[in-house]
Amino acid sequence: MLELSDNPGVILLLGAFIIIALPTIMRRPAMLLITGFSAMRLMGMEVGDQTVLSLFGLDLTPMKFDVLSRLFLIVFHIAVTLNIIYSWGVKNATECWASLAYPAAAMGGVLAGDWITLFIWWELAALTSVFLVWQPRTRETYLAGMRYMVIQIASGVLLLGGIVILFRQSGALAIGALDLRDPSGLFNPAALMLFIAIGVKSAFPLLHNWVQDSYPKSTLGGTIILSVFTTKLAVYLMARVFAGTPELIWIGAVMTIFPIFFALIENDLRKVLSYSINNQVGFMLTGIGFGTAASMNGAVGYAFSNIIFESLLFMSVGAAMYRTGTSKATELGGLYRTMPLTLMFCLIGALSISAFPGFAGFVTKGLILDGAAEGHNFIIWLILLFASAGVLEHAGIKIPYFTFFAHDSGKRPKEAPPMMLIAMGLSAVLSVGIGLYPEPLFNLLPYQEQIADYHPYSAYHIVEQLQLLLFAVLAFALLIKFKLYPPEVPSTNLDFDWLYRVPGRALLFKIVSLIVSLWRWLWGGAQEVVTRVMARTHRTHGPEGTLARNWPVGFMALWTAVVLAVALVFLYWVA
C-alpha cells in the first residue's frame, strides 16, 4: 500500500509551491533536498505496490508501482537532479516552480494506474510546462506557448474522449494493454483516440511540430527540462498500452528518418537537438511496436539512457549559449580553445547518442535493431540503420563540430560556470558508466529472462557498429576535405507547422472576418427593418423621440420575439 506522501508527483508538486515562498538564495538547495527526499521515498517502494481508491463509484488506482514505472521514475529523478544543478544560477520563481511542478506531473502520470488519474497529471503537465515556454517573456515565446498549449490540451481532450469511450465499452478504468484494432480489423475508436492522444505527445510525424516550435524558444534550463518529460511520458504509455502494435513500427520508422533532413539544414543548434528528440523517440516507438521481449527492453532501456545523453547535449549547447548568447551554428564555432571541458562533455554526449561502443547508446540500441531482425523486417531494419547514420550526422557530428570547431567565430568565451560543468560531468559519467557497465540498467528492464542472455559487447556487434560509424565519419571527413559539406546559413526552415502558422492562420482570420461581415449584413438588415418599423410606429404612435436613443433594447426585444416565434413554431408544427 502506497501513501499519498510516497508519490513523487505529490512531493515535487508541493515542493514547487514551497520553494517559491523561500528566499531566492535557498531555492536551488531546497529543490535538491525535495528531489532527494522524493528519491528516498522511491527507494522504499516495492514492485507491485499500489493504492486503490473508490471515488464516485469508480475504482481508481492513483498509484501503481511496477518494473516499468520504476525505470522511468528513476531516470526522471536523475534528470530533475541534473537540471537543478545545471540551472543553479537561475533563481526566478516561475522557472524554479515549473522545473519542479512539470516533472512532478510527469512522474504522477508514470505512477498512475488508471486513466482518470493519468488524465489529471497529463493536463497538469501541459499547464505547468507552458510556463517554461513562456519564461523568456517575449512576444515570440508568448505565441509559441499559446500554440503549444492548444496542442497539448487538444491531446488531453482526445485522451479524455478515448477514456470515456473506453469506459463505456469495458466499464474499467485501469491502464492496461489495448488492441488498436478489433478482431475484425477495424479500428477500435477508444483505442484509436488514446493512441493519437499519446501520439501527439510523443510527436508522431506531422503531429511533431510543437517540439521544434516551443522547446528551443525556452530558457537554457527550461529547454532541457522540456526535452525530457513530455515525450518520454508518452513513450512510457505507449510501452504500457500499445506494445506490439504494428502501426507503431512504421510510425516510429518514419519518425527516425524525416528529422534527419530537417536537422541537417537547421542553423539553430537547439532546434537541431529538438529534431533529434523526434528521431530518438522514433527508435523507441519502433522497438515498442515490435513488442518482443528484446525490443521492449531495448526501447525502454534506450529511453533511460537517451534522457541522460540528450540532456547532456542540450546542456553543452546551452553552456555555449550561456557564454556567447547564441545557439546558431553560423555565430558559433572555434569555442574549443576556451571551453575544453564543455567540449569534452559534448563529445561524450555525441558519442553516446551515436551509439559508439563503450557509450550509453550502444548497449540498448542493438536490442531495437534485433527486434527488426527477429521479425525479418528487412526494410525497417535498413531504415533504422540509415537513421543511425543520420543520428551521427546531426547529433554526433554537427552539434560538437559547429559549436566548437568549424570556422572560427572569433568568440573567446570563458569556460562554463562550475555548476554547469558539474551537471554535465555527472551526465557524462553516467553516459560512459552505462556504456561500460550496463548491468544496473539491465537489472531495471522489464524482461529479465531476455536480458540475461544478452551481451552487447559481442565481437560481431562491435565490429558492425564500428564499421557503420567510422565509415560515416570518414564520409564526413572527406566531404569537408573536398568542400562538399554545405555551409550553415541563417534561415527559418518551413516544416509542417507552416500549414497552421501561415495559411491556416490566414484562413482562420478570413473565416472570422467573413462571419463578422455576414453577421453585420444580417444584423444590419434586421436593424434596418426594425428601424423602419419603429420609425413608422413612432410616426403614428410615439409623441417623444427618446426611444431612438435605445435602439439596442429594440433589438433585444426583437430577439425575444424571434425566440418566442421559433418556440411556437416548434411546438405547433414539429411536436
Binding site: A389, E393, A406, D408, A477, T492, N493
Partner: protein, 91 residues
Amino acid sequence: MSHHSPEDKKNIGWADHPAFVRGFLWFLYLSCAAALVAGFFWQKEHPHFAVETVPVFFAGFGFVMFSLIVLVGQHLRKLVGRPENYYQERE
C-alpha cells in the same frame, strides 16, 4: 580546418594545427581499415538477412548513406528555406 590570414595565425588553436588535422585523419583512415578487416574475421552466428554475411556491408552502408544524407538533404533548403524573420513578419 579553415584557412587563416596571417594576422590571426596566433589564433590558431590546437585543433586547427595542420599536424593535428593530419594525425586525426590518419587515425581515422587506420581505424576504418581495421574495422573493415575485422569484418572478415567476425561474422554473426545467426544472420537474419543475407546482407549481414557480407563482411563490408556495414562500412559501405554507413559511408554511402551518410554521403547521401548530406548531399541530397541540403537541397531541402531550396524547398523550405526562408529568411530568418519569416514567421515574425507574419504573426
